[in-house]
């Protein structure tokens, strides 16, 4: 149910590193949907959702990057005050902890999406579904 894969890349905090990642994906014709960088001094982790996860993962791996795949949820946020509150409150009420989240807006679909990493992905998907929050599927992310 609605769980998608995020690609995470280990990266040294140095000029040009991000460019190598971007070039690798661009050469393989992989499109980035959403991206965030978490940095911790000398190194950081890039997290991204792309249109073709398998291909993205493969080309990065072959390019010599340290990559891993992580389960995340892509949740649609209603474009009204309290849109985010509804989501995080539901998770809190159900005792589900959020590790991190990042948002993006899609021009074509005119929607705001929140990529969510939680400690219990399946249950989070279930409780959000029950409160009427829409969760995007893999195919939707591909076709946005």
């Amino acid at each position: 149910m609605g769980v998608i894969k995020q690609i995470s890349i280990f990266m040294e905090n140095k000029p040009g590193r991000m460019a190598r990642v971007a070039k690798t994906l661009s050469d393989a014709d992989v499109n980035i949907r959403a991206l965030t960088i978490a940095e911790a001094g000398d190194f950081g982790v890039i997290r991204m959702v792309v249109d073709d996860t398998e291909k993205g993962y493969r080309v990065l791996r072959d390019g010599g990057f340290t990559v891993s795949e992580t389960d995340v949820l892509a949740v649609e946020i209603k474009d009204i005050p309290g849109g985010l509150y509804e989501i995080v409150d539901t998770l809190g009420e159900n005792d589900i902890n959020m590790d991190y989240a990042y948002a993006f807006v899609t021009a074509k679909a005119e929607r705001a999406m929140l990529i969510l990493r939680v400690d219990d992905t399946k249950r989070a998907a279930q409780v959000l579904n029950e409160t009427g929050v829409r969760i995007a599927t893999r195919v939707e992310i591909q076709n946005i």
């Binding site: 995020q6 995470s8 280990f10 990266m11 040294e12 590193r17 978490a38 911790a40 000398d42 190194f43 950081g44 982790v45 997290r47 791996r61 010599g64 990057f65 340290t66 990559v67 891993s68 992580t70 590790d99």
Partner: protein
Amino acid sequence: MFKYWNPNIERMPIEDLHKLQEDRLRSVVRFVYAHSDFYRQRFEEVGVVPEDIKELSDITKLPFTTKIDLRNTYPTGMFCLPGDWVVRYHVSSGTTGKPTVVGYTQGDVDMWTDSLARALTSIGLGRGDVIQVGYGYGLFTGGLGLHYGAEKIGATVLPIGAGNTERQIELMQDLGSTAIACTPSYFLHINEVAQKMGVSIRDDTKLKAGIFGAEPWSDETRRRIEEATGIKAYDIYGASEMSGPLFTECHLQNGIHIWADLFLIEAIDPKTGEHVEDGERGELVVTTLDKWAFPLIRYRMGDLTIVNNEPCECGRTHPRIMRILGRTDDMIIVRGINVFPSQVESVLMRIPEVGDNYQIIVDRKGPLDVMTVKVEVTESTFSDKISDLMTLSKMVGKELKNVLNITAEVELVEPGTIPRSMGKAQRVIDNRKV
């Protein structure tokens, strides 16, 4: 499995071996005194003549020689026979100073070959084996030394030399190499490239033994190599001044057998020059007993090791040196504390989350030395969580502190970013201008 190349010599009773050494020591001392101005002058400086050397313990009366002597007498000032006796030269690369030249008579080459024939037989190699020689050929002694030793025991030699890694892997498969000789860091690189090519050394090749040396390496690296590839990893020792690679462990992997009929070894305190107690770490000192174009008297190798005079369970009575713990000139002093790269290596190789390559960088920031250890994050353990990576970095730092007693900064780097080498790996970069 208990195979010997020359059982009479290799299992000779210790008393007989000592008598043989004594005879040969007297001969070589007389020989260098008669044939070399360099040695005669050195002997005169300390007031010793060949007649003073009667038994083995008299060796301490003789002066030490060092690499500096070899450089100062460049090119052939320490040779003891005229050029027409010499059938071959080898020349060291001189990365740490002026190049040094060594020379061999035909008999010296035969001695070298025989030493390796004994060694290779002791790890169970022989006729029917295919030995891939991945040490450099040419002026470096590694390639040609192993080559002759391997041919002598009737094995098939694949003289590929260093480098050309993908070809190494293809030929290893196509020609069924059963053993490879190269530096341990290069073998780890070969394994890395093989994985990328979709080749498993364990399942897709016949490789069963690796003969690794020319740089210090640790038991932890041995375990890592053996677990990753299913081969047995053997330590080999030698130096161009002694001939080249000469000695290996036997199949029991418990110390390197030094052929006592060919070389007389001592372990000394590098500061005082006195013999260390049995079982203590000391600098290896070598006197050649059957080498004539370029003999050595009490040559200080600069390698730190422990000499074990107990006979081995394999039946060989010759002394063993335990793993080389480092070189006196590899040692770095950080904030007044001695650090050997091999200590850092043994800490890192115990930590599975850390890759096979590492580098130590020493800088001076203001009055303080700062040691940074770079390690590669392996894909199998990368979890996407920053906190896991921070924990790993802290854990490595803590382990290093436990063993070295100094704080090291740990830098996690991307795999493949620490330079790989085909020969000796450069593990230490010292940026201090002292």
